[in-house]
Structure formats: structure tokens, C-alpha cells
């Protein structure tokens, strides 16, 4: 993309340093836990030690005697206000505090309000709860057996633990494709339960003013407006009214999808501020975060590919079982219960495909949120990219060659997949060829042959993924009926500076910088003169928030369109000032000039001043615009990743020697920020590939609910990421841009697994489930007779 603006203006394509950094590097960021109000009290939560149990009694007497403890809130307290249950974003229901029974270990049971954090924790210790354990269902396959106990006894008429059954594609035609195939391959693949674990945990400060009836809540929210509306819907009957609810999402210490759900803690804090009349702070600790927040993945898949002898793929079939825990708290806005899973045909031109997913309840915390990805895309890509490698192995074909043979061709876009997606643009062979060349694929293959001859284990893995991001369009995407558009409001002030407000919320993506760059590109006002604000529902236009890489595709587009509305008015004012016809004016970023007489011109700053001081007769004063953008389609970023690993035969440790990510996210707003997003996404792809998994024992007790055993990659394990790019603009996005924040999290894990399996393929290894921990790899090596 060629630059249209100077560095001083700083429009699209400039690697502007971030505006937000000024406060963060000085320790002046304002996160939720930094909010302190006069008279503020602290809330801490009593949690269940059982995965399934009746609550026989809750005795709060000793807790109330603890110095500093002022109140204990239980399900019975909330029941008086009919606030003990709430809807999930999937229109399932979830307990705020239980009245009858608990459904998972670490579930909220009661809440203690006290004058300090420490006193609240003391109070939690002193609450006495008597439980009557019930049979526990941990295994999702067992949950579907006829004799399994029905968990959701609260749902009248519910006779099993199935949440949904969902299908996509033509089952019979796909069966025919398999029957007629020369070769078929099949593999069970499990993606374990993981948690985004942003460095800042979740929490809020809720402050209700009984006189005005106004509730202000600072909360860790990726979707402040949607949350405000949900609060109004849930608590409307006790007097909370939407215009008097102000949700403020201050600086967020990461989100990645974990700050989209409404956790019970927020609602309890709201109840507590209403009941006590004091501001209430609730901040979960890391153990609570890892044991009770909403989880990702937990997907048991069986995947199959049908193909001809020459490698042409003719059919894809995937059956999946999704463990959603005790409620379907998925935070995905599509109208399909398995989200975007039907993107599973990926980058390939499959003539037939069929996918089916069953969602089930178990005695685990709510599952089904995203982990830095559009909902269920990672699962789909993982299954497919593993299967392509398994097919290559079966056919003794090079995995790169097999991919190139089956890619959707560049000239086939816009491309309609057999499962119904309309891909906007792509050049898959361009990305893979660049990756192969940049990393020196042929030399790596030679090196591998030599190493194998010496008994060393080296592997090369490829993943060529297609992502699907940027929900809407609203005809397919909503949250509880709220359509998935997003809003931008721009006000240009008399002196030519601007304030812009958005319905999204940055969690580290750098919106204060990138949105300013979009407006700078469109209006020629220097980015440094544009103040971007988000996260306050009292001031920002309505929007559905930031997740699933939707900020650039949706709110970024709204910023461009609002800017263009302003430019249209600016043109009229310029014509008035230059005493000429609108049609005789020419625009270049920052000014209008008369065609053929470039010295006759008016800058956007002069025009802004005139908008308040000297506007044409009959025109409204001011220079402002709002846009609510409902995209015509999603955007489909893509990429090809290549990973090179060496495996230590003595320890089973996987060492990533090189990792190259070639990404294509269309036109780029800020290359520095895009690269940073890719680095971060790759690291969150590395994490589940090698380290992260939440494990439960047969009683449903989490075995690794803290950072001692739930391992996040440190600087020691994280490789020096290499990146490159191709640019295929989105034809329908006003700026030609696509989302990018999550591509790497989707694309990295299969590349890493494919590399490890490749290193072991000569031993007969065809698949390994993630995480590929040293002990797992070590055991596999011993199983195949490899010793040091």
C-alpha cells in the first residue's frame, strides 16, 4: 500500500508510536483495581469445594462477627430480588449465587462485604456451608449416556445433558464423496480446556447512588454497551434503568475474550452497592480467575478427509463434542450454536463437507468463550490443518505441495465455500510460496534428511489457515438480539483538532493510535491532534465491543465513513470559502484546492474554523458526524506459517528453532502495531501447543488452578518470531482492511504440532494432542523405542 499522508499527518501505513504508552510507561494507566472511592467496601467470594452438591445450609454468624465484616450476601438474599439467576449471552441461564445446589468447583456460594480486602478474606474463611455431595459428571461422553444424572434440574422437562445438536453441509453427498474416494484418512483430535488468563484478572467497582438512582460501574469489560443493556434487562425489575447505568471500562490489562462474559461477581457487587449504599470493589485473584472464569476449547473431534490418489481433496467430515461446563456461557454472537466452526473447509476448495457438533453440560465451570479467536475457528483450523498433514503422510506427498494443489485459487474470489461462507479475498498460494522461500524450505528438507541419518529429531510444520473475523453482518450476528454493528462519532473542533468516540474497547490493541490514524488518513488532521475515547457508555456511541478481531473491520470502517461524511460537509464549506463550485474542488489529505489552481486552497483546519464562524447560509453550523456501521460481510484474513523444531531425545522437550509467520490482513493501518499483534498472537498459539491445559480429576476438582502449574510461556520458551506479509485488500471494507489480532493464535498451534509430528513421522507417529509437554513427548519416544 502506498502512503497517502506525510509522517506529520500520520495516516494509514505509518508506524506511529502509540499515544497510550505515555501513561503506561509512567505507571499512570488506570485499571479497575486502581479506582478508589470514598467509603468504598471490598467484596470477596466464598466458593464451592464440590463439583456437584446440594447446599444444606449457610451459616454466616461467625463471618459477621469478624472485625470489619459488614454483610454476607447469599443466594437467598438475591432471591428476594429475583436476582439469583441471570441469562448468559447465549440465552442459557447461569446462577449468580446458588439457592439449591452448586454445579462446579469454585462456583460462587456467598459473598462477604467488609471494610478492607483482608477483612473480607477473613470473613470468607468464617462462612460455614454444609453441602450434600451429588454424583459428578466430568467426562462429556459419559454426560450423554442414558444413565447419566441430569445436571440442569432447574430446567423443567430436561431429561438429558445435551445443550444442542448442530449440523452444516450435505451429509449424504459427503458420504458419497467418501465412498468414491481413493484414499480416506481419519483421526481423533482433542483440543483441551484453556483460559486466556490476561495479566489483569476480572473485577469491578460498583457505585449506586440511592438519591439519583444512578449506578456507575467501572468494570473489566470488552463490551461496555452490551453489558449495560444486559444489566438493564436483568435488573430492570429492581429499578435499574438503562439511562442511569454508566459502565466504564477503564484501561484493561488484556482481554482476549475473557472479559466478554458477565461473571456473577459483577452482579453480586451491584447488588451489594444497592444493599449497603457504599461503593463496592470486587477483584478476583488469579486462582479464582483460573478456576471459575469462562473457558475456551474443550473440543473432542473426529476428522476425516476423502481424496483422490493424486492428492485432490474431495470431502471433509468432522464430528465434534463440545464440553460447555454447567451452562452455555459462550460469548459468541453468531446465530450458529457452534459459532464459526463451519469455516472448517479452510483454505481449500472442498467440493463436499459435513460438520456436526453436540454441546453438553458437565460439572465444570462455564466453557465456550474464545481464546483470542473468533468462536470455534481455532478448533476448525486445527482439525483441518492436522488432517491435511495426515493425508500428505498417507499419500507420501510433500505437505506444501498438497496444500498448493488444493488451495482456493486467487481468481476464485469472492469464493463461496460449500458450507456457505462467502470469502472476500485471498491469495493463499502467494502467502505459502513467500513463506517457503523466506524460510528456505528446500534447504531445511535437506538438513532434515541428514539429521535423520544421524538419529537427530528435527521437524518442519506448515499451517495455511483462513480466519473469519469482524462480526456482523447483523443478519447473521447478534448478542441477545443486539445486532453486531459498531459506532464512531467524530467532532472536529473550531481550531481543527478532533475528538472521536467509539463503542469498542481496546485491551492493548492501541485503538487510541490506530483510530486516530484512520481519521488522519481520511481528513488529513494530524493523528496527534485527534483524541480517541472509548469505554464510557455515558459518552461513547453504542457499539458491541472489541473481540473476535472486529474493531478494525467494523469500528474502523465506521471511523472512515464518519470521516467521509465530515469531508462531504467540508467540501461544501470550502466551495463557499473559495467562492467556487463543489465539483471544481480536489481533495488531498488535509486540504481542498481548486482544480487547476492549486494555490487556491483551504486546509481542513481553515474549514473547521469556518464551520463555526463562516458557514454558507442555510447550512447547520459545526463539523461532526456519527456512523453506525453494519458490515456487508465478514473479513477473511489468512496466512501461511512454518515452524522448525528440534526435539531433545533425552527430555522430550520441543525446541522451536524458527517460526515464520506470513500474514495477510489486507491494508494495514499501523505496521508496528500489526506486527506486535502477530507476535502476541503467536505466543498465545505457542501456549496451548506446548504448555497450557486445565486438568480436572474424577471429582471435577481442578488440578492446576494457578500459575504454578498452569504454565504461561515466559521469555525463555518463546522463540524469536519472524514475520512477513502479503497484502490482499478486503474488497468490501472501506479501507480494504481486515482484522489481525487473532490470526496467529489460530494459525500457530497446527504449525507447531505438524512440525513435532513431522520430526517423529519416520517412527510411525501420525498425531499428538496438545499440549505437547516434555513428559508426553518423552513417553511417545520411549514407546517408539527411541532412547538417548
Amino acid at each position: 500500500m502506498t502512503l497517502r499522508t506525510s509522517p506529520e499527518i500520520g495516516g494509514m501505513g505509518h508506524s506511529l508510536k502509540r499515544k497510550e504508552d505515555a501513561r503506561f510507561i509512567r505507571g499512570q494507566g488506570k485499571y479497575v483495581d486502581d479506582v478508589k472511592l470514598p467509603g468504598m467496601l471490598y467484596l470477596d467470594i466464598v466458593r464451592s469445594p464440590y463439583a456437584h452438591a446440594n447446599i444444606k445450609s449457610i451459616n454466616t454468624e461467625k463471618a459477621l462477627a469478624v472485625p470489619g465484616v459488614l454483610a454476607v450476601i447469599t443466594g437467598e438474599t438475591l432471591k428476594e430480588y429475583n436476582l439469583h439467576w441471570m441469562p448468559t449471552l447465549m440465552s442459557d441461564t447461569q446462577m449468580v449465587l446458588p439457592v439449591e445446589k452448586v454445579m462446579y468447583v469454585a462456583q460462587e456460594v456467598a459473598a462477604v462485604v467488609a471494610t478492607s480486602r483482608y477483612a473480607a478474606a477473613d470473613g470468607v474463611e468464617a462462612v460455614e456451608v454444609e453441602y450434600e455431595p451429588l454424583p459428578v459428571v466430568v467426562d462429556p461422553f459419559k454426560a450423554l449416556e442414558p444413565d447419566a444424572p441430569v445436571l440442569r434440574t432447574d430446567k423443567e422437562g430436561k431429561t438429558d445433558n445435551r445443550i444442542f445438536h448442530w449440523e452444516a453441509g450435505d451429509k449424504a453427498a459427503t458420504e458419497r464423496a467418501f465412498a468414491e474416494a481413493d484414499v480416506t484418512v481419519k483421526q481423533d483430535i482433542y483440543l483441551p480446556r484453556i483460559l486466556v488468563a490476561s495479566m489483569e484478572t476480572c473485577g469491578c467497582v460498583a457505585d449506586f447512588n440511592a438519591t439519583t438512582g444512578k449506578l456507575t460501574i467501572w468494570m473489566t469489560s470488552q463490551a461496555p454497551h452490551a453489558h449495560r443493556t444486559v444489566f438493564a434487562l436483568v435488573a430492570g425489575h429492581v429499578g435499574l434503568s438503562e439511562e442511569k447505568i454508566q459502565v466504564i471500562a477503564p484501561d484493561l490489562g488484556g482481554g482476549f475474550g475473557g472479559k466478554v462474559p458477565i461473571y456473577p461477581g459483577y452482579v453480586i457487587a451491584i447488588a451489594a452497592t444497592v444493599v449497603t449504599g457504599h461503593p463496592i470493589k470486587w477483584i478476583e485473584d488469579r486462582t479464582e480467575n483460573l478456576q471459575a472464569d469462562s473457558f475456551a476449547r474443550d473440543y473432542h473431534m473426529t476428522a476425516e478427509i476423502a481424496a483422490k490418489k493424486d492428492g485432490t481433496m474431495t470431502g471433509l467430515r468432522i464430528k465434534a463434542l463440545a464440553d460447555h461446563g454447567y451452562t452455555d456461557a459462550a460469548t459468541q454472537p453468531s446465530q450458529f450454536p457452534a459459532g464459526m466452526f463451519s469455516i472448517c473447509t479452510g483454505s481449500y476448495d472442498f467440493p463436499q463437507a459435513f460438520a456436526e457438533v453436540d454441546g453438553v453440560y458437565t460439572n465444570k465451570p462455564p466453557g465456550g468463550i474464545a481464546y483470542r479467536c473468533s468462536f470455534r475457528v481455532t478448533e476448525a483450523v486445527h482439525a483441518l490443518e492436522r488432517m491435511v498433514d495426515i493425508l500428505a503422510d498417507e499419500l507420501s506427498m510433500d505437505p506444501a505441495e498438497l496444500r498448493l494443489k488444493n488451495f482456493i485459487k486467487p481468481e476464485a474470489f469472492p469464493y463461496r465455500s460449500i458450507l456457505g461462507w462467502e470469502y472476500d479475498s485471498g491469495n493463499y498460494e502467494g502467502a505459502l510460496k513467500l513463506a517457503l522461500e523466506t524460510i528456505g524450505y528446500d534447504d531445511l528438507l535437506k538438513e532434515q534428511v541428514e539429521k535423520r541419518a544421524r538419529g537427530e529429531l528435527m521437524g518442519i510444520g506448515i499451517c495455511s489457515f483462513t480466519e473469519v473475523v469482524g462480526a456482523g453482518p447483523s443478519k447473521h450476528f447478534d448478542i441477545l438480539g443486539l445486532k453486531m454493528f459498531d459506532g464512531a462519532e467524530i467532532r472536529v473542533h473550531p481550531t481543527g483538532k478532533a475528538t472521536a468516540r467509539f463503542g469498542t474497547k481496546s485491551q492493548g490493541q492501541g485503538h487510541e493510535t490506530t483510530y486516530a490514524q484512520i481519521i488522519a488518513e481520511e481528513l488529513g488532521i494530524p493523528a496527534e491532534h485527534i483524541l480517541v475515547e472509548e469505554g464510557d457508555t455515558d459518552t461513547a456511541p453504542y457499539g458491541l465491543g472489541t473481540y473476535a478481531s472486529r474493531s478494525t473491520p467494523v469500528a474502523g470502517a465506521a471511523a472512515a465513513i464518519a470521516s467521509r461524511k465530515i469531508r462531504d460537509k467540508a467540501r461544501k464549506i470550502a466551495a463557499h470559502l473559495l467562492d467556487t463550485n463543489e465539483d471544481d474542488l480536489e481533495w488531498e489529505p488535509g486540504k481542498f484546492s481548486v482544480k487547476g489552481s492549486p494555490t487556491l486552497s483551504k486546509t481542513i483546519q481553515e474549514i473547521a474554523f469556518a464551520a463555526y464562524t463562516n458557514f454558507p447560509e442555510g447550512m447547520e453550523p459545526g463539523l461532526e458526524a456519527v456512523s453506525y456501521y453494519d458490515p456487508p460481510n465478514l473479513t477473511f484474513p489468512f496466512g501461511s506459517y512454518i515452524c522448525v523444531v528440534d526435539i531433545d531425545k533425552g527430555t522430550g522437550e520441543v525446541k522451536i528453532r524458527r517460526f515464520l509467520a506470513v500474514d495477510d490482513c489486507g491494508n494495514i493501518i499501523n505496521p508496528m502495531i500489526v506486527e506486535g499483534q502477530i507476535h502476541g498472537g503467536l505466543t498465545m498459539g505457542l501456549a496451548p501447543a506446548l504448555f497450557e491445559e486445565l486438568v480436572y480429576d474424577e471429582n471435577g476438582t481442578p488440578l492446576n488452578g494457578n500459575f504454578m502449574d498452569y504454565l504461561l510461556p515466559t521469555a525463555m520458551e518463546t522463540p524469536k518470531w519472524e514475520t512477513a506479509k502479503t497484502t490482499t485488500p478486503s474488497p468490501h471494507h472501506p479501507l480494504g482492511a481486515k482484522g489481525v489480532g487473532e490470526s496467529a493464535t489460530v494459525g500457530a498451534p497446527p504449525a507447531i504440532v505438524n512440525a513435532v509430528v513431522d520430526a517423529l513421522s519416520h517412527l510411525g507417529v501420525r498425531h499428538i494432542d496438545i499440549p505437547m509437554t516434555p513428559d508426553k513427548v518423552w513417553a511417545l519416544l520411549r514407546e517408539h523405542g527411541v532412547t538417548e
Binding site: Y118, M199, E200, D251, G676, F707
Partner: protein, 156 residues
């Protein structure tokens, strides 16, 4: 309650605290300096890193009473007379931060590293920050940020 005397960023503070009060809570809540963050309960994340008599410590794992009579330096103490320390500049110039939550801890750990080693290798830097978790950046740019600061301090 125990009476303590702690010097934070050059200013002396006298306070009566519960013996169990963590240093990080003393800094954040009693002194209302919220630049130092909390990201875990098991001494793993390093978001709470401060310097105690010039050595980086995880302030969630130190009692306030243990800081009695000692010098504490937090992220708020890095800039001198409004001038950023090179390590702060490095993080901004090299895009070494995204959400900013790990940043104060990262800054303090790398500041301490550069006080010890004027010219650390990439391996030295990665090892030094291995007790500080970052979920956003993938560390590559943090390494570059520290290298930037090392060069700048060397007059480069």
C-alpha cells in the same frame, strides 16, 4: 499494628500496618501509588516487581514490615525531573508494551538488569525477565526495548 518507616522513590513514609500487610498492598493502597500491579497469587507473574535496596523483588511476596528502614523504588520513580529513563523510552520506541499491565514490573526488572550489566546479550535479557509474564507482546519487542535502553545509556 507495627510501625514502619519506608523510603519510596526518595520520600520517607511512616505508617502503622498490620504485620500481614503485603508490600504491594502497602504501596498501592496505603501510599496510593497504583503503578505497581498484581497479576497472580503465587509469585509467578512479576507484575508487582519493585526494587528493594536496588534489587528487584516481587512485592506481593514481601511483607510491608520487611521493608522497614529500607529503600523502595517503583515505576513512578523511574523518570527524573520529568525526563523518562532510557528503559521507558525503549519500551515506547520498540513497541514493548500493549495493554501495559505487565509493563511496570518489566520496566523495573530490566532497569535493575541494566544497572548490573551495561551490555546484556539477548540471552541475558530473556533470562532476566523470565520471572515476568507478558500475555500480549510475545517478548520479542521487550528484548528490543531493553537493547534500545542499553545502547542509549551507553551514549549510542
Amino acid at each position: 499494628m507495627t510501625s514502619i518507616n519506608v523510603t519510596v522513590n526518595g520520600t520517607e513514609h511512616q505508617a502503622d500496618v498490620e504485620p500481614r500487610l503485603l508490600l504491594v498492598h502497602f504501596i498501592r493502597e496505603d501510599l496510593e501509588m497504583t503503578g505497581t500491579h498484581i497479576g497472580c497469587d503465587t509469585t509467578n507473574c512479576g507484575a508487582c516487581t519493585v526494587l528493594l535496596d536496588e534489587a528487584p523483588v516481587k512485592s506481593c511476596t514481601v511483607f510491608a514490615v520487611q521493608a522497614d528502614g529500607r529503600q523502595v523504588m517503583t515505576v513512578e520513580g523511574l523518570a527524573q525531573n520529568g525526563n523518562l529513563d532510557p528503559i521507558q523510552e525503549g519500551f515506547r520506541e520498540e513497541h514493548g508494551l500493549q495493554c501495559g499491565f505487565c509493563t511496570p514490573g518489566m520496566l523495573m526488572t530490566s532497569y535493575a538488569l541494566l544497572e548490573q550489566h551495561a551490555d546484556p546479550s539477548e540471552g541475558d535479557i530473556r533470562k532476566a525477565i523470565s520471572g515476568n509474564l507478558c500475555r500480549c507482546t510475545g517478548y520479542v519487542n521487550i528484548v528490543k526495548a531493553v537493547q534500545y535502553a542499553a545502547q542509549k545509556k551507553a551514549g549510542g
